[in-house]
C-alpha cells in the first residue's frame, strides 16, 4: 500500500480527517540540521518528513555550473539524519530542489549520496527521483505560441536563450510529488520544486483543505525562521483541517502571532498572494492566534485553483571565465582619485592585454567604502580612511581572465596620478598572489513563467529499489 493510502486509513476518523503532523527538517538541507531539535521533532511522531534543499537565491553559478552550494560532508550528514529519521518511523521523506538548483547534475549527485548512505546503513526502501529539466523543444514551442512571459525585470525569452542555457529547469508543484508517492515511493528526491510542494503534496492528496494546507507549507518550509528569535531548527506543523498549529522544536524559538504574520513578508513580493503552478494562495483573511507562549494557530487562508496551469522556468548561461584582484588602500589621495585611477589603468590594460575572443573582456570594479555594495550616486563625505578594491575580469578563457587580472594588479599598484605622494605603490595586498581565478561565470537568462497544458510530462518520475 502506498504512503498516501496508508495515511488515509490511519487518519480517517468519525468526524473527518484527524490532525496531520508534518515535520520540516530543514529550509536548506546541507547547511547542518541541528540534531537535538530534529530528534525532538521525530519524537512527536510526524506523519511526513520534508526538507527543502535549494533555491534560486544563491545566484546563477549553481544552476549554470551544475554544482552544489553546500559542502559534500555536511550534505551527506544531513541526508543521513533525515533518512534515518524517516526510515525508523516508516514515514515518507520528501526533499525538494535537490543539490541547490535542482537540475540533472544536482539531482544525480544527491541521489548518489542517498544510495551510498542506504548501502552504508543497510537501509532498504523505494527511492523516487523526479527530473525538473525542461524539454527545450517544448519551451521553444511555447515561446512561439506566446505562452512564455518574463517575471519582473528580465527581457522576453528567446529560442536562442533556451538553446544556450547550460541548464533549464522548471519548478514542479504538488502533482509530481503525488505521482511519485502513488508509485509507492518511501523517499522522494525532486529536482527543482516549489518549496511549498514538498510539504503540501501529502495533505492535498489526503483531502485537507487547500488554503490551510498551502499556507502551512509556505511557512514551515523555512523551518523556525517564522519564530522569534528566528532560526533553522525543525518546525512541526499540525494541520487540523481549517486551521494549523506551528510549533518550533527548539523550545527557545517561539511562533507568535506577530512573528508568524510577519513571515508572510519574507522573500515574497506580495505578502497576501503566493502563486503556485496549480493555483494561488490568498492569506488576506488569515487569522493568527496564540495557543500559548510558544505556539500559534493559523486559519483563514484561501486557495484559488489556477484557470491555466503554468510553470516557472529558470535558466543560466555561461558568459565566460572570471578572475579577480583583491587590493586595498589607506592613502587619502588614492582614495580621492580612485575612479580616475581605475579608468586610467583600464585604458593601459586594454592596450597591453588585447582580448582574444570575439568580444572585449569585461572589467567591473567595486570600491568598498565608497560604493561597493550600493550604487550611491555620490561619494561619502568625508571619504573613508581605507577602501577595499575588488577588480573583476570576465574573459573568454580562464587564462585570459587571469592574465588581465595580473597585468591590472601591477599597473594599479604603480599608476601615477597628479598629486601622488606614495610612489612606493598605491595598494596594500592582503596576501599574494592577489589575483585569483574565480571559475566560470554565468548569468540567469531565463526567469519566466510558461503556460502549459499538463504538468505530468515535464516532471518524469523514476523509481528504484534500494
Amino acid at each position: 500500500m502506498n504512503a498516501i493510502d496508508r495515511l488515509a486509513q490511519e487518519l480517517a476518523g468519525p468526524g473527518g480527517l484527524k490532525p496531520l503532523r508534518v515535520l520540516a527538517a530543514s529550509g536548506q538541507l546541507g547547511y547542518g540540521v541541528p540534531e537535538p531539535t530534529l530528534a525532538a521533532g521525530l519524537a512527536r511522531k510526524p506523519h511526513v518528513l520534508g526538507a527543502d534543499m535549494g533555491s534560486i537565491d544563491p545566484g546563477p553559478a549553481y544552476l549554470g555550473g551544475g554544482i552544489m552550494g553546500t559542502s559534500p560532508a555536511v550534505t551527506r550528514a544531513d541526508l543521513t539524519k533525515v533518512l534515518r529519521g524517516a526510515r525508523a518511523l516508516n514515514i515518507p521523506l520528501l526533499i525538494g530542489t535537490a543539490g541547490t538548483a535542482g537540475a540533472r547534475p544536482h539531482l544525480e549527485a544527491t541521489l548518489q549520496i542517498v544510495r551510498d548512505i542506504a548501502r552504508a546503513e543497510g537501509m532498504h526502501f523505494r527511492l523516487a527521483s523526479i527530473r525538473a529539466d525542461m524539454p527545450r523543444d517544448l519551451v521553444k514551442a511555447a515561446i512561439r505560441a506566446g505562452r512564455v512571459q518574463p517575471i519582473g525585470a528580465i527581457g522576453d525569452l528567446t529560442t536562442a536563450d533556451v538553446d544556450q542555457a547550460a541548464h533549464l529547469v522548471g519548478q514542479m508543484g504538488i502533482e509530481a510529488f503525488q505521482r511519485a508517492l502513488r508509485a509507492d515511493a518511501d523517499v522522494v528526491i525532486a529536482g527543482r520544486a516549489c518549496d511549498t510542494a514538498v510539504f503540501a503534496a501529502i495533505p492535498a492528496a489526503l483531502g485537507y483543505p487547500m488554503g490551510p494546507t498551502m499556507h502551512m507549507s509556505k511557512i514551515i518550509e523555512c523551518c523556525s525562521i517564522c519564530c522569534v528569535p528566528g532560526g533553522r531548527d525543525p518546525l512541526l506543523g499540525t494541520l487540523e483541517g481549517e486551521s494549523f498549529i506551528l510549533d518550533s522544536m527548539n523550545s527557545e524559538r517561539h511562533a507568535t502571532p506577530m512573528s508568524v504574520a510577519a513571515h508572510s513578508l519574507y522573500e515574497q513580493s506580495d505578502p497576501y498572494v503566493v502563486r503556485e503552478p496549480e493555483g494561488s494562495l490568498l492569506v488576506d483573511a488569515a487569522r493568527y492566534e496564540a495557543l500559548d507562549a510558544h505556539r500559534t494557530r493559523v486559519s483563514g487562508a484561501r486557495w484559488e485553483p489556477a484557470q491555466q496551469l503554468s510553470v516557472k522556468i529558470e535558466g543560466a548561461v555561461r558568459i565566460g571565465e572570471r578572475a579577480v584582484v583583491l587590493a586595498a588602500s589607506a592613502d587619502p589621495r588614492v582614495i580621492a582619485n580612485i575612479d580616475a585611477i581605475l579608468a586610467g589603468v583600464e585604458k593601459t590594460v586594454r592596450e597591453l592585454a588585447p582580448h582574444s575572443g570575439s568580444e572585449p573582456y569585461r572589467l567591473h570594479y567595486r570600491v568598498y567604502g565608497i560604493d561597493g555594495v550600493f550604487d550611491w550616486k555620490r561619494a561619502p563625505e568625508p571619504l573613508p580612511r581605507e577602501i577595499f578594491i575588488l577588480v573583476e575580469c570576465i574573459a573568454a578563457s580562464a587564462d585570459e581572465a587571469k592574465s588581465v587580472a595580473t597585468v591590472f594588479k601591477q599597473y594599479m599598484l604603480h599608476h601615477g596620478f597628479p598629486g601622488r605622494l606614495s610612489t612606493g605603490g598605491n595598494l596594500a595586498f592582503p596576501f599574494t598572489p592577489p589575483e585569483l581565478a574565480a571559475g566560470t561565470a554565468y548569468r540567469f537568462n531565463a526567469y519566466h513563467v510558461m503556460d502549459v497544458d499538463a504538468l505530468e510530462p515535464l516532471f518524469p518520475v523514476e523509481i528504484e529499489t534500494l
Binding site: 534560486i56 537565491d57 544563491p58 545566484g59 546563477p60 553559478a61 518574463p150 517575471i151 519582473g152 525585470a153 528580465i154 506577530m258 504574520a261 510577519a262 508572510s264 513578508l265 519574507y266 522573500e267 515574497q268 513580493s269 506580495d270 505578502p271 497576501y272 488569515a286 493568527y288 558568459i319 569585461r362 567591473h364 567595486r366 560604493d371 561597493g372 555594495v373 550600493f374 550604487d375 550611491w376 550616486k377 573583476e392 570576465i394 561565470a441 554565468y442 548569468r443 540567469f444 526567469y447
Partner: protein
C-alpha cells in the same frame, strides 16, 4: 523623525532574481500608520532613491504585522556581471537616512 527611530525592522532581500523587496516593520499601529502616510515612503520617493521608474515600485501595507512591503525591479538581475549584492540583503542603506 528618522525612520530608524520608528521601525523595529528595516531589511532588504530579493524575491526572485529580478525583484528587490524592502520590509519595514513597526512596533505598533501608530508607527505603522505614520509610516503609511509619510511622503518619504511613497512610490515616487522610493523610485528616486533606488533609480527605477515609479511604475516599477509597489508599496503594500500589511497591517497584520504592522509592516510595509515595498517591491521594486532590481536594476541588475541577481548575479549578472556588475551586480553588487546577489541576495539583495544589503540594499536597505538609503532607508536608514530617511526622515519621515
Amino acid at each position: 523623525m528618522k525612520l530608524t527611530e520608528l521601525a523595529r525592522v528595516i531589511r532588504s532581500k530579493n524575491a526572485g532574481p529580478t525583484t528587490l523587496t524592502l520590509d519595514l516593520m513597526f512596533h505598533d499601529r501608530s508607527g505603522f500608520d505614520r509610516a503609511c502616510a509619510a511622503p518619504a515612503l511613497s512610490a515616487s520617493a522610493i523610485a528616486g532613491l533606488y533609480g527605477v521608474p515609479v511604475e516599477r515600485v509597489q508599496i503594500l501595507p500589511y497591517p497584520p504585522a504592522f509592516a510595509i512591503k515595498i517591491a521594486l525591479d532590481r536594476r541588475v538581475i541577481a548575479g549578472d556581471p556588475g551586480d553588487r549584492d546577489v541576495y539583495g540583503a544589503q540594499q536597505h542603506g538609503p532607508l536608514l537616512e530617511l526622515e519621515l
